[in-house]
């Protein structure tokens, strides 16, 4: 079915994929409709630019550190940071090793992100079908959306103590409101012709929901989830700033306090890497879940 021309087309669009990934516009239609060639393409797209940017950043960092414009306290050389990172994998920093802190943060993010997504998607779907919920939720969300979840951190600690609950709640708050907005918008975006067509063919009730609404909305919801995942990482750093003795965020702030610049870099790079990996996981999930729905929708 595929011709050289459409391959070209795909390749041209690859810049757009990077663009729209988190910009909130659905472009999941670009990939995944090809077999082996498609996979090659994914590799070319995902790995080449990332490798290139990482390598040049590292090069720049190394160069600036090497010419000693600044002291090591301000900008430690990459080798120094790597050395410290390796050291921290077996000797503990504070209560745990690097892996221990990373795992703590990952668990917090995952718990908050998952619960926030489930609740947000549920409310978003309800907003589509229940007028009363839509009536009240719209203005509340308009008010809440620009309020950073982080502002609630001390209040949450007052209410729920110093344990894991307020931290997970904070991430939940950061994820929930935006997921709701995304889901509601995605549910609204179903072209009326598709709904009419499905009705004409005899679909009603849950069939209409499951086989038409959900597949149509899912790609947009998944794109939104990539955005909220980044927010979840922001939130966990906030939560660990205020009251924690573990986690990568705590490492960063503790190291800032004691002027251990290499540790700051180790933890920040760690957060960036884990965040990127979780993002990649979400992209793969998107691939697996949505396959080529959008392609068919757009071309029909």
């Amino acid at each position: 079915m595929r011709s050289g021309a459409s391959y070209e087309h795909d390749y041209e669009l690859r810049d757009k994929r990077w663009l729209d990934g988190r910009a909130g516009t659905p472009v999941l239609m670009l990939r995944s409709r090809r077999g082996r060639l498609g996979r090659k393409l994914i590799h070319a797209v995902v790995f080449a630019p990332v490798t290139y940017s990482l390598l040049s950043l590292l090069g720049l960092w190394w160069l600036v550190a090497a010419v000693h414009i600044t002291s090591t306290d301000i900008l430690p050389a990459p080798a120094l940071v790597a050395e410290r990172a390796v050291e921290l994998t077996h000797s503990p920093y504070g209560s745990e090793t690097l892996f221990g802190h990373a795992l703590t943060s990952i668990v917090r993010v995952t718990a908050g992100f998952a619960s926030g997504c489930v609740a947000g998607i549920a409310v978003g779907i309800l907003m589509r079908y229940v007028y009363a919920i839509r009536y009240f939720a719209d203005p509340i969300l308009a008010f809440l959306r620009p309020v950073p979840a982080f502002a609630f951190v001390t209040v949450l600690i007052t209410w729920f103590g110093l344990g894991e609950l307020p931290k997970v709640m904070l991430i939940f708050l950061a994820v929930f409101s935006l997921t709701t907005v995304f889901t509601a918008a995605a549910m609204e975006a179903l072209p009326p012709q598709m709904q009419d067509a499905a009705r004409t063919l005899g679909a009603t009730g849950w069939r209409l929901f499951w086989f038409v609404q959900v597949p149509a909305a899912l790609p947009d919801v998944l794109v939104g989830m990539r955005l909220t995942l980044a927010l979840a990482w922001t939130a966990v750093m906030g939560a660990e700033l205020v009251a924690a003795d573990s986690g990568l965020g705590w490492m960063v702030w503790n190291a800032v306090r004691f002027g251990q610049t290499e540790v700051v870099f180790v933890a920040v790079v760690g957060i960036a890497v884990i965040g990127a990996l979780m993002d990649l996981l979400l992209v793969l999930l998107t691939q697996a879940l949505t396959g080529n729905w959008r392609t068919h929708m757009r071309s029909s």
């Binding site: 810049d15 757009k16 990077w18 663009l19 729209d20 990934g21 988190r22 910009a23 909130g24 516009t25 630019p49 990332v50 290139y52 940017s53 990482l54 950043l57 306290d73 301000i74 009536y135 009240f136 719209d138 203005p139 509340i140 308009a142 008010f143 809440l144 959306r145 620009p146 309020v147 950073p148 979840a149 982080f150 502002a151 609630f152 001390t154 209040v155 600690i157 007052t158 209410w159 995942l229 980044a230 990482w233 922001t234 750093m237 906030g238 700033l241 205020v242 965020g249 960063v252 702030w253 190291a255 800032v256 002027g259 610049t261 700051v264 920040v268 957060i271 960036a272 965040g275 990127a276």
Partner: protein, 263 residues
């Protein structure tokens, strides 16, 4: 028009809906206070927070007027956001113009965008201390990638025919840029600015958490330190009001600046 649809029309009006939602939130809040039965210092009822808000407006907070705290926060957000527009928009246009530049820069932006503002803040504090520089810079860094990408998105999305038509009609390149490309990408730029604004408020609160006595974030932090939960909640309400107002401002700009689309 019959009575039912008339009622419905009134109920659907924006301000009425906002009011209804506010009433609903306050009612649920009161209900939660009644159910949980916590002391007012832990979970204050809405009227306590309203009174605290009034007191804040009248007496100010830690030797400064409320308006000066709000002004400080707004100035930081505005400065960071405007700086990110001043840098991000030209970068976006340049990336839209040159494929080479686009290929070269996109991976960096992709790499930087998901990094939380807090992470930037930590490094900025190490580099610049806890002064205004790192506060504005953290807002700038959080916003600039979003602005650049949405500008680029706008340039790439604009149908080539628009530019070609203008060229055919004898416009020179400057005119094409000023009269076609700029207004054509404005909706996307403003969309991006709106997303960036939410990031800016988050970054602001993060920035005001560390080493400052002034700003809405400082009010929230200081209040919670002394278990003045009512005052912290009042701070959050202020934040919400100004967050929503600035958000509305951008939406208004969107309507005004894109009326060409409906012409």
């Amino acid at each position: 028009m019959n009575l039912a649809s008339r009622c419905r029309q009134i109920l659907e009006a924006g301000p009425i809906r906002g009011l209804a939602a506010a009433v609903a939130v306050i009612a649920v809040w009161e209900l939660l206070v009644a159910i949980t039965n916590q002391p007012s210092a832990v979970f204050p009822p809405p009227d306590t927070v309203a009174r605290t808000l009034q007191a804040l407006a009248a007496d100010g907070f830690s030797n400064a007027d409320l308006s000066s705290h709000i002004g400080r926060s707004l100035a930081r957000v505005a400065l960071g956001l405007l700086a990110s527009l001043a840098v991000g928009v030209p970068i976006g246009f340049l990336m839209g113009r040159s494929t080479l530049l686009r290929r070269a820069l996109t991976p960096f932006i992709t790499l930087f965008r998901p990094i939380p503002p807090f992470a930037f803040l930590a490094i900025l504090i190490v580099w610049f201390g806890i002064g205004e520089t790192s506060k504005v810079l953290v807002i700038f860094l959080g916003c600039v990638t979003i602005v650049a990408l949405s500008t680029l998105d706008g340039v790439l999305r604009m149908p080539a025919e628009y530019r070609e038509a203008a060229l055919t009609l004898g416009a020179n390149r400057r005119q094409v840029f000023l009269r076609v490309v700029m207004p054509g990408t404005l909706p996307q730029i403003l969309n991006g600015t709106r997303v960036a604004l939410a990031v800016a408020w988050t970054a602001l609160i993060a920035a005001e958490w560390v080493g400052t006595q002034e700003g809405v974030g400082a009010i929230i932090l200081q209040s919670s330190k002394f278990l003045r939960t009512d005052q912290a909640l009042a701070g959050i309400v202020i934040l919400g009001i100004f967050g929503a107002l600035t958000d509305r401002l951008i939406v208004l700009l969107q309507h005004v600046s894109t009326d060409w689309a409906s012409r």
